[in-house]
């Protein structure tokens, strides 16, 4: 009979934690902060297609660092849960706390039952009527949940980033001030010889939950609005921080009827004869 090597449960958990921590620390960081008019999400992300920050529901946003495929599956589950509860009860009955609880249960059971834990660290934030009412939850790979005091950082070197946030962040900041603090905090680590980095607009993924809006409060800030916001320009950012979701193009290259339909055949016939 093959000899089973004994490993203590403590050792197994330690190994899993180490694996998850290393995976998370490899990635770039993200910060979440309350400001006077909402909750700001800023993530370092060079991809504009694979999001680290997303909308879950009317007043709930999601940010994550770590392995994309793992937190993307959790994000999709969160959207499904929120929409299912919102349909069966009412839109007001979907809360960030319930979502954070479900995520924590899920992460916790994966951590103890699976041989490989999820290498993710996530934030579920719900915007309230005032900055004091905002709820920001940190969820870690082992299923623990922390209620954060209006600000949090996650990812590699999160402690150093949190230190900067703790010194500079106030909940009554404007969006431009909060953005400046967030970028300064993210840039405070990872520079050559400990020097602060400057992070360009195209390396940032920025979104807000705007507490002044009714209904869906989540808006991405991209392009010119983001550049203006980084330059400290408050006016255009306050007025137009919005990006509506894109519609897929339906031009000639994307027919909306079957390719075998009569008018398309006619058109292709014309162009061939010309």
């Amino acid at each position: 009979m093959a000899m089973q090597f004994y490993a203590s449960p403590e050792q197994i958990m330690r190994d899993r934690s180490e694996l998850a921590r290393k995976g998370i620390a490899r990635g770039r960081s993200a910060v979440v902060l309350s400001y006077s008019d909402g909750v700001l999400f800023v993530a370092e992300n060079i991809s504009s297609a694979l999001h680290k920050v997303s909308e879950i529901y009317d007043r709930i946003g999601f940010a994550a660092v770590g392995r994309y495929n793992e937190f993307e599956a959790l994000r999709r589950a969160g959207v499904r849960m929120a929409d299912l509860n919102g349909l069966s009860y009412d839109r007001r009955d979907v809360t960030g706390r319930a979502l954070a609880n479900a995520y924590a249960q899920n992460l916790g059971s994966i951590f103890t039952e699976q041989s490989k834990p999820f290498e993710v660290e996530m934030c579920v934030a719900e915007v309230g009527a005032t900055p004091e009412d905002d709820e920001i939850y940190r969820l870690t790979y082992d299923g623990s949940v922390n209620d954060e005091p209006g600000r949090m950082a996650m990812g590699g070197q999160a402690e150093a980033i949190t230190g900067v946030l703790r010194n500079k962040h106030r909940s009554d900041m404007s969006l431009a001030e909060a953005m400046a603090v967030a970028v300064e905090a993210l840039g405070s680590v990872g520079g050559e010889g400990g020097a602060p980095r400057t992070i360009a607009a195209n390396q940032l993924e920025v979104a807000v939950l705007d507490r002044r809006r009714v209904g869906r409060t989540f808006r991405r800030i991209t392009g010119a609005a983001l550049t203006a916001l980084l330059d400290g320009g408050s006016a255009p950012a306050a007025e137009a921080p919005t990006e509506e979701p894109k519609q897929p193009s339906t031009g000639a290259e994307k027919p909306t009827v079957s390719a075998a339909s009569a008018d398309l055949e006619d058109k292709s016939g014309e162009s061939a004869s010309e």
Binding site: R80, M81, L84, L87, Q105, N106, P245, P248, S249, T256
Partner: protein, 279 residues
């Protein structure tokens, strides 16, 4: 949570692994009891069991589309509700109006709203206007069994097509029947018990390239004509200050006219009819 109980605390597999961005497809696996049209019904006609919602009109205008609905729900010869709202935004750029069995209609409309929002959140991009109309058609088709027993729901769908090359013609209207659809309509359309009269009125008065304001007036006129000849359609109720719901979808998104705005339009229509009852 609707789907199963797992003592380990893990989310049911369907939440994390369903290979779909459609909310109705997800419901079919996770909570089929929430889908309308999947409930077994006892045999027999059920048409008089529940209130019916009546007339909706939609008119495409320059740079958008207008949809308006009267406020009456009927149950046989009775008025079930005087101020029901049958025109709703489906998402940021489209509108849906419901005629037929009110309860199923409201349920279908809520589900359709979640369906569009769900896809948008999952994929980070909106469905095309044609995609939205097709989605709604398949949801109507799902209700075919109930429709054959008298619990039919027919929606009217209209929206601003962001992919249209000519913004003047971006307002588009789709109609449906109990077997699905969609059928794209040119210019205008109406559904519900008073639709015959509303469409007759629109046929004489509609001109391509109307301004949005003119289309709003025209929609209220058409509802007045429907209420004039159909007992199940309610006209502007000046004594209770209940006026039609009027919504627009333009490049700026959907917008519901305020009560004061619709009151002004409805009062102008009524005072016009004081002089010429036929309009």
């Amino acid at each position: 949570m609707a789907a199963g109980f797992d003592p380990s605390g893990r989310l049911p597999d369907v939440f994390t692994n369903a290979r779909t961005s459609s909310f109705t497809e997800f419901l079919r696996i996770a909570a089929p009891e929430l889908l309308p049209g999947r409930r077994p019904l006892p045999p027999g006609m059920a048409a008089d069991l529940a209130p019916h919602a009546t007339t909706i009109v939609a008119i495409s205008a320059a740079g958008g589309v207008v949809m308006a609905g009267d406020r009456r729900a009927t149950m046989g010869n009775l008025i079930a509700q005087r101020d029901i709202e049958k025109v709703h935004p489906a998402d940021a750029y489209s509108l849906v109006g419901i005629a037929g069995t009110a309860g199923i209609g409201i349920e279908l409309m809520r589900l359709f709203q979640v369906e569009l929002e769900h896809y948008e959140k999952m994929e980070g991009t909106m469905l095309s206007l044609d995609g939205k109309a097709n989605r709604l058609a398949s949801m109507i088709r799902g209700n075919l069994g109930a429709a054959m027993q008298g619990l039919a729901v027919i929606p009217l769908f209209a929206g601003y097509d962001l992919a249209a090359t000519d913004p003047q013609r971006a307002g588009r209207i789709f109609s449906f029947d109990v077997t699905g659809g969609p059928y794209e309509e040119t210019g205008y359309d109406a559904i519900g018990s008073g639709s015959l009269f509303a469409k007759s009125a629109l046929k004489k008065r509609f001109r391509a390239g109307l301004s949005v304001d003119d289309a709003v007036r025209l929609a209220v006129e058409a509802l007045y004509d429907a209420a004039d000849d159909d007992t199940a359609t309610g006209g502007p109720d000046l004594t209770r200050r209940i006026y039609p719901v009027v919504m627009t979808a333009t490049a700026e998104g959907t917008h519901r006219l305020t009560d004061a705005e619709t009151a002004a339009v409805a009062e102008a229509v009524v005072s016009g009819r004081m002089e010429n009852p036929g309009g």
